[in-house]
Amino acid sequence: MDFLAPTSWAEALETKAAHPDALPVAGGTDVMVELNFDHRRPAALLDLNRVPDLQEWSRTDDGRIRLGAGVTYSRVIAELGGTLPGLAMAARTVGSPQIRNRGTVGGNLGAASPAGDSHPALLAAFAEVEIASLRGTRVVPVAEFFTGVKRSVLEPDELIAAVRTTPPAGPQQFCKIGTRNAMVIAVSAFGFALHPDRREVGTGIGSAAPTPRPAPAAAAFLAGELEAAGLWESRGPLPENLATDFGRRVRDAAAPIDDVRGSAAYRLHALSVMARRAATWAWDSYRDENRSAA
């Protein structure tokens, strides 16, 4: 097995173009497990740890956040907890401190697992994936990134450069069910974001369908009801039945299976509860913002 270790982004893209079958390694927390279990025998490993650009995040001229694919969960929590609250909440639930010190958001996307914890948060935030190759750069909404279980739109010569997202104009939430209180793969997960600037609601479902997916009908329903009741302006309380109804619609957007981690029925039930609670918490924060601003 060859070990390719480019030291610049340009070199990384050239290497990937020359060795399309080389498997990228960022934190290695997915890759090394697969190699250890002999689930994968790549012809070459493409180590991205020496590519400085990938390890950085920045604010772009248009005020957006560009999060390099190699930024670890620990750094997301420490450096972006206030800026990307939904992603940071998701990051806090990933594995253990050791995993959070190594594991990256880019690696999570690269693995494209339906259970990847950053995905629901990124979906709810309407984030985009910046994908690059020698052929150029393209930007794909996270909602269009996943194509199947552990599959994505990445072409063999492409690498994930960054995640792009707008700092939220409203509160965000992330919830994850596991059968113990830490170090657990999601039985199901839910990301939620209020976008008062756009009068929209963002949603993301994890571990309850072949891919992470948004719940667009539920989101449109909630945004519409908020609009109709004038709640965006009035910031009145979120009616309980509206939250419950939203939860049900999120549940209806999922397509889970029974497996050793939980039954499909439980996943659906849990999603409806998480969606109701997350929407309520986010709405309450939105109302608090107003009060503290007043």
């Binding site: 250890n36 994850k176 059968t179 509860v273």
Partner: protein, 757 residues
């Protein structure tokens, strides 16, 4: 520190620093998986993918062609008898013509690199013919059930009956339930591993992590066809055991490969393989009925207990024995009718795990005790105190409980411990069910409290000749007296090495005690299981020290020409108190004594009535669990897990508390998350990704109340400590979850969906 403090440090009643403690915390401890020999090759195991199949043929040609491979072995290469087993020799070292569970060893490969060996193993072509499998133990005794062992009449491993009192009892209050306990795993972190080194003369030295060197040795000898003096075992660093290392794993395999290749052979299971490499805790199906007076006093109890033994017997007989004789809990019950059975199936073999037989039963009898309390309107603590055994009572096999049985005190003690603070108004989410996963900010969270009490036998039972051997040597080294203690009793992390030193220091007055490596160069120490080593090997070391002391004083008497001598510290002192000699002065020649020590004998029980003095000692414990349950999502946070236990005498108080904390965590794990999921004979979760054990966030702080009612029959008054906490913690947690949710919850582990649907 004053000199007296220095002198007393490390004796009985102290908690000296264990020699492995710092090494383990800093990651420097050498486990069996760290063993290394410059010339070694690596052994791997090819395992059956089927729960039940006939082996039509095995073709190893392709595997042998892989460069770097030095041997490929199958059952045909076994030189001795291809049969091992703790109770019955029913387990082939390598499958011969038939495989009876998924994961059964079929062939071995040795190669110069573990990866080479693994890849070569994949090239072995085994032609299987799948056979009908019996995977539901409740169907295993049906007339038309496939036979797991064709030579047997049926799939029964052992059936036990306990009958006492009125054969047709009635009672004003009757409560009953069915309970199911899932398959728990020991989940030790050190995989099965060891190193076999051929001695060049046809014999072999095996370094291995195990719980009982001598029982391993006899099984390995049988398969190799060699006498014990040619198969020598030394204990390697053990990374946890909990019963899972009582049966053989890679022992015979490494030796076979070593003798075949003439090279040292290392084997170390991968994590997923480990789930197939050792026995698990028996899943159980339990049907219980209590009859009681209107005041809740037990009049009779009936129990029907079924244990799934899996494909091979392992310790199933003893598990049935414990389930039968102890399965009604630490209660006074005039009339009793118990049937306990263990059966063969094509599921993974089940055997020893901490608290076996009692762990499963306690979930049922404690759930039913709560039900009875509620029915008669008596407090759940008081009903246990009222029915709890007391010293002098007869248990259900008619044995007199002839030392402390403080059931009432234990359960009232845990009740009276301070309760955790109520949930804060605005709690940190890590303190709530779901923790950092942010599933509740307090919504749906209900607190519940549960109690449980248990008792467990200590040591081997039912007439087993249970002994340990200790060799103690006392000599002068550079003018200082030094003791060396040599036993074959396995240190598996419980602290026996430290304890052996403490006993020698106390008995011989020396500061320096060398612990000889644990090996088969001395007689058997018996198993490190059944909470027995402090009692039995502790007893043997004490007896060996006494023998050494007697010899020392005899020597002193001869040289000093007086007989009124005793050993005090490292001084020989006369009756008057006058120091007449230093210990080293009589140690020109070393003194060495070897003692084989036995506890009081037990007896087999009557096959029709189950009556008899089955057990040597009983240990009692109680737990109180406080849980917060998100009843809408079914997630549980254990807020407090407090316990009281009678340990007879705490020879090493820190080690005692450590055992109680660890055991409690393991019991809680079974109540809430730990289960090997088996579907149609196939294990669905052989990894720590999906076999969940409690993390530090799941384990609450514990209040541990240690009672010390010395057992007059035991050395120093000790009572076994390791198992009871594993037994009473789980039922207390389950009871607390029932209290919070109002659900019956008749199965453990309790999964979120059991609470929400």
């Amino acid at each position: 520190m004053t000199s007296t403090e220095t002198r007393t440090a490390g004796r009985l009643g102290d908690s000296p620093l264990r020699p492995d403690g710092t090494l383990k915390v800093t990651g420097e401890f050498a486990y069996s998986s760290d063993l290394w020999h410059d010339d070694m090759v690596w052994g791997v195991t090819l395992r059956s993918p089927h729960p039940h199949a006939r082996i039509r043929s095995i073709d190893v040609t392709d595997a042998l062609r892989v460069p770097g491979v030095s041997a490929v072995l199958t059952a045909a290469d076994v030189p001795g008898e291809n049969a091992v087993g703790l109770e019955h020799l029913d387990t082939p070292a390598l499958a011969d013509r038939v495989v009876r569970y998924q994961g059964e060893p079929v062939a071995l490969v040795a190669a110069d690199h573990p990866e080479t060996a693994r890849r070569a193993a994949k090239r072995i072509v085994v032609d299987y013919e799948a056979l009908p499998a019996v995977t539901d133990p409740r169907r295993a005794l049906d007339a038309d059930a496939p036979l797991v062992h064709a030579s047997h009449e049926d799939n029964l491993v052992r059936a036990m009956k306990v009958r006492r009192g009125d054969p047709a009892p009635t009672a004003p209050v009757v409560v009953a339930l069915d309970f199911e306990v899932g398959m728990q795993d020991q989940a030790f972190l050190g995989p099965e591993s060891g190193l076999a080194v051929p001695d060049g003369e046809g014999g072999v030295d095996l370094y291995v992590a195990t719980q009982w060197l001598h029982v391993d040795q006899s099984q390995v000898c049988r398969v190799l066809g060699l006498p014990p003096e040619r198969v020598r075992l030394t204990l390697a660093g053990v990374g946890g055991a909990f019963g899972g290392r009582e049966d053989l794993s890679m022992h015979v395999h490494a030796c076979l490969l070593a003798l075949h290749t003439g090279k040292p052979v290392k084997m170390s299971y991968a994590r997923d393989e480990s789930f197939f490499g050792h026995v698990h805790r028996h899943p159980a199906w339990l049907r219980y009925e209590f009859g009681a007076s209107d005041e809740g006093e037990l009049i009779y109890a009936k129990a029907d207990i079924l244990f799934d033994g899996g494909a091979y017997a392992s310790s199933t007989g003893a598990v049935v024995g414990n389930g039968g004789t102890l399965g009604l809990g630490p209660y006074r019950i005039p009339s009793v009718h118990v049937d306990a059975r263990g059966v063969y199936t094509n599921n993974p073999p089940c055997g020893a795990m901490r608290g076996f037989g009692c762990v499963q039963a306690a979930f049922a009898h404690e759930a039913l005790m709560d039900e009875l309390a509620d029915r008669v309107g008596v407090d759940r603590v008081e009903i246990r105190a009222r029915n709890g055994m007391r010293e002098g009572d007869l248990n259900i096999t008619g044995q007199v409980i002839d030392s402390a049985a403080p059931v009432a005190e234990l359960i009232r003690t845990v009740r009276d411990l301070p309760l955790p603070a109520p949930r804060a108004e605005d709690p940190d989410i890590r303190e709530l069910p779901g923790g950092a996963s942010n599933t509740t900010h307090g919504e749906g969270v209900v607190r519940g409290i549960g109690y449980a009490v248990t008792y467990k036998n200590v040591g081997f039972s039912e007439g087993f000749d249970d002994y340990s051997t200790a060799r103690v040597r006392l000599e002068a080294v550079a003018g200082e007296p030094v003791a060396t203690v040599h036993t074959a009793a396995a240190e598996v992390g419980q602290g026996l090495i430290t304890l052996e030193q403490q006993i020698c220091r106390t008995e011989l007055g020396v500061d320096q005690v060398v612990v000889h490596p644990k090996d088969t160069g001395v007689g058997s120490g018996g198993s490190t299981s059944a909470s027995r080593q402090t009692y039995v090997t502790g007893g043997a070391v004490k007896a060996a020290c006494e023998a050494v002391r007697t010899t020392v004083l005899r020597r002193a008497a001869a040289s000093l020409q007086r007989t009124d001598l005793r050993l005090e510290g490292d001084k020989i002192v006369a009756e008057s108190g006058e120091v007449v000699a230093g210990l080293v002065e009589v140690l020109e020649e070393p003194v060495e004594e070897t003692v084989e020590w036995r506890h009081r004998p037990t007896s087999p029980i009557d096959p029709e009535t189950g009556q008899g003095n089955a057990h040597v000692q009983y240990a009692f414990s109680a737990h109180r669990a406080v849980v917060d349950v998100d009843v809408e999502l079914g997630l549980v946070k254990v807020v407090a897990l407090d316990t009281a236990q009678d340990v007879g005498r705490a020879l090493n108080p820190d080690a005692v508390v450590g055992q109680i904390q660890g055991g409690s965590a393991q019991g809680m794990g079974l109540a809430l998350m730990e289960e090997i999921v088996v579907t149609d004979g196939h294990v669905k979760n052989p990894s720590f990704t999906d076999y969940l054990i409690p993390t530090i966030l799941d384990m609450p702080p514990m209040q541990v109340k240690v009672l010390e009612y010395a057992d007059p029959h035991a050395p120093y008054g000790v009572r076994g400590v390791g198992e009871p906490p594993t037994i009473s913690s789980g039922p207390a947690v389950a009871a607390a979850v029932r209290a919070a949710t109002g659900k019956a919850l008749r199965r453990v582990p309790i999964r979120p969906e059991h609470i929400t649907f």
